[in-house]
Symmetry: C2
Subunit: 473 residues, 2 copies
């Protein structure tokens, strides 16, 4: 799907004013760049902006917002463009504001276990920088090698470590934000506890670039655990695998990762990355990837043994322990590249379902039943320990759910199921453009009216990432 | 029953309508009750409501709000009245809405490690109920034996365990809320990860009863750690004690509690509860209370020994280990009752300062200097591991800061100091009535305008706990 930038809002005067702000080389409007910045990782969608602007400072961002607010020009903020819900798609044309030049780690505060960073830093770069000081920033989306920390804030990202360490929102202490009007605020303070007025920090986290543009981020860090152990457990029965997930927590364990991957996904990704690390036998339905971490190796070994024994009672097969750093890396690569791999073979539609952990078997059963009913293929993988299951869908001739009536009907059935299990429609990808039409399943109109009201408080002219999360009234 | 009408808004018709909603025995207006519900634990302040209403269901709360919204009657929600910032003070008269009859624990979900509760349950009762199932709800304000979980949500309470386990906001998954208009919403879903629209759950937490009345609460639980160890370390130098706090984290330890208590406070509370558990010698300036918890006793013993050794390098004195449950309880009683004790001897004004952890020595030094400059006594205690220091102030002839010009001047100087250290004015008590005049120190007018705008979205007629956190414009 392609919408071209014919809104014609960027007059010569405005183009020149933008050039004045960021410098001529940091405003782009050539076809190649318009194409590049016109898509993210969401389905097969493409919307061209009119111009791409790359500010390097908070003040430049503020000047852009003041200009666009005055002239009512739509602005779409964008990090690395790895999003899966279309949050960074410039579907209204106008200005695409890229944060890629806001890419400095400003300070690692070892005294207070905090880091202050700009939003355009790659998540893994940030993690490695604090790791070098013996510190740990846990949230690790699958795309950590390419996504930006700013985008992680926008979507309240998770990743495998969330099951023990929480998601992005649990680490954000304070944010510098340029409001749609161009005003600059800090949302909180660089402290571990804060009961000082409404929590604007948490309101910004997960607001998908609709309330303001985050220009500085203060994150809490924790001491880096010394050791981790990783194992892979095969199951012949998918439901048994998902039942085993819940049993681990009920037995008192808190793994640092607890992932589920269906055999179809594992086969596809193993082929793509040419890996033979995992013996993939045809009788296996799914694997659990289980990691524990901590500072005492004996304790971890004992935990791992106990968990392995517990898995056997759920018909878990022969356990594969990752022996060294290389084997661990290989195993994680298989999990992390699953989305990319299955997308490349036609599973272009990804849903980010989340349910209470113990409802995972019912969710998987329901998804498979819907697949039979509506004639689509679904492969499941994800953060089973959090009840957060990614469902990748392939239905012949339908590459996008967005704008497709038949797939919309199917997905409404899926989200009805999710809601009936006590869950909701996004665990970590956000609503963005493509999920907004399902918000009525999980929220009353009163909720959506409150969200619209909040949007208006921040953005009276509805210029910043408008039409994401919900439609304005 | 004696009905008084200070602001005269509760006409006979409205009184009868309220009776219709909750039943005649659950609406009170006699002097004794008006006095009781006219104060909380904040300084020596008293404001009488016109009537006290005690609904028992969400629907009754909604009916009360619809009535009051129609007739523009101020409503002040109240939990157990243990607040320290005046959030529950009915300073505008009108209706005092007590949640004490919303006191059921609805469900402990052992499959998903969650509890659903009404707001009028005493925090410790809730903790004990989940503990009986081997589960753990960590946030434990000093008042846990009397405060309500609903009030904890309103203020985003903390307590000693916050240093390892986080504060209330880190455990709230979903809230049923009656809006000021009488509409009923759920803010989220009962899931561990959620990126579905603006985080209304986190917006409610810490909003001090100004945005809605929480009627049901879904909390995340974790497995209960099997063991804990507790020790008390004396210091002859207050600043050394606070420096030692930061050193513990930098050495890679995360204690489950790390409290500081100045010797004056310890002496006063030991006398009040007639305890001789701790040898209080005159050369000691302060103690650190250090707790570790986990599932492996050998690991904990080793941690405790290493921490004790580290304390010696900061001139820590002879360590007192709590040998058994009784000694632990005795030690915690001394800490938990410190506020009550020092208040009873004239330290009626309590400030809830919070700074980045490593700035604690500078904060204590600054507070003491201000005491000399402005001629007041201050005793300090609190959650040092979080940089959250309670400062109790005694100045002859000034029982309240609220409404006192001289004390307001002093406190502005103190909060200027806090802000200059990167901190803010409340870590866990909230802003309520008495701190709102200091909000300009830590926030721009743009922040406060956003908060006012959000308030208006939820409460267009400004009837619910109006005049708390900020004044309307």
């Amino acid at each position: 799907m392609e919408a071209t930038a014919t809104s014609g809002l960027i007059t010569t005067e405005i183009f020149e004013a933008l050039q004045q702000i960021v410098g001529a080389q940091y405003i782009l409007a050539d076809q190649e760049n318009l194409q590049h910045y016109g898509h993210d990782e969401t389905e097969k969608l493409l919307y061209l902006p009119e111009v791409i602007v790359k500010p390097a400072t908070t003040e430049e961002v503020a000047a852009i917002m003041r200009l666009c607010n005055l002239h009512l020009i739509p602005v779409t903020p964008r990090g690395a463009g790895t999003g899966l819900s279309g949050g960074a798609l410039p579907h209204l044309g106008g200005v695409l504001l890229s944060t890629e030049r806001l890419n400095k780690i400003i300070q690692i505060d070892e005294r207070n276990l905090q880091v202050t960073t700009e939003p355009g830093v790659i998540t893994e770069v940030l993690q490695d920088a604090v790791k070098a000081k013996g510190l740990f920033y846990p949230p690790d989306p699958s795309s950590k090698g390419s996504c930006f920390i700013g985008g992680n804030i926008a979507e309240n990202s998770g990743g495998p470590k969330a099951v023990k360490y929480g998601v992005v929102k649990d680490y954000v202490l304070n944010l510098e934000v340029v409001l749609p009007t161009g005003d600059i605020i800090w949302t909180g303070a660089n402290v571990l506890k804060n009961s000082t007025g409404y929590n604007l920090t948490q309101l910004m986290v997960g607001s998908e670039g609709t309330l303001g543009i985050v220009t500085k981020i203060v994150l809490k860090l924790i001491p880096l655990p010394k050791y981790d152990l990783l194992m892979l457990v095969p199951f012949v029965d998918l439901e048994k695998a998902s039942e085993a997930v819940s049993a681990i927590f009920r037995a008192g364990f808190t793994p640092s990762a607890l992932e589920l991957i269906e055999i179809d996904a594992l086969q596809i990704v193993a082929k793509m990355v040419d890996s033979h690390a995992v013996p993939v036998t045809p009788d296996i339905a799914a694997h659990l990837i289980i990691e524990v971490d901590g500072n005492n190796m004996d304790v971890l070994m004992s935990e791992m043994e106990q968990i392995a024994e517990l898995m056997a009672t759920y018909e878990g097969g022969e356990v594969f322990f990752a022996d060294d750093a290389q084997q661990k890396a290989e195993l994680w690569k298989l999990r992390r590249r699953a989305a990319e791999a299955v997308k490349s073979v036609g599973y272009t539609i990804e849903e980010d379902t989340v349910v209470p952990r113990a409802e995972l078997p019912a969710l998987i059963r329901g998804v498979k039943a819907l697949g039979k009913q509506y004639n689509f293929h679904a492969v499941c993988y994800g953060h089973a320990g959090d009840g957060n299951l990614h469902v990748r869908i392939h239905k012949e001739g339908i590459p996008n759910s967005y704008g497709n009536e038949e797939m919309t009907h199917i997905l409404r059935a899926m989200f009805d199921l999710v809601y009936s299990l006590g869950g909701t429609i996004s665990g970590e990808h956000g609503i963005g453009l493509i999920q907004k039409k399902y918000m009525d399943i999980v929220f009353k109109e009163a909720n959506l009216d409150i969200m619209r009201g909040i949007k208006k408080v921040f953005d009276p002219n509805n210029i910043l990432n408008a039409g994401k999360i919900f439609d304005s009234k």
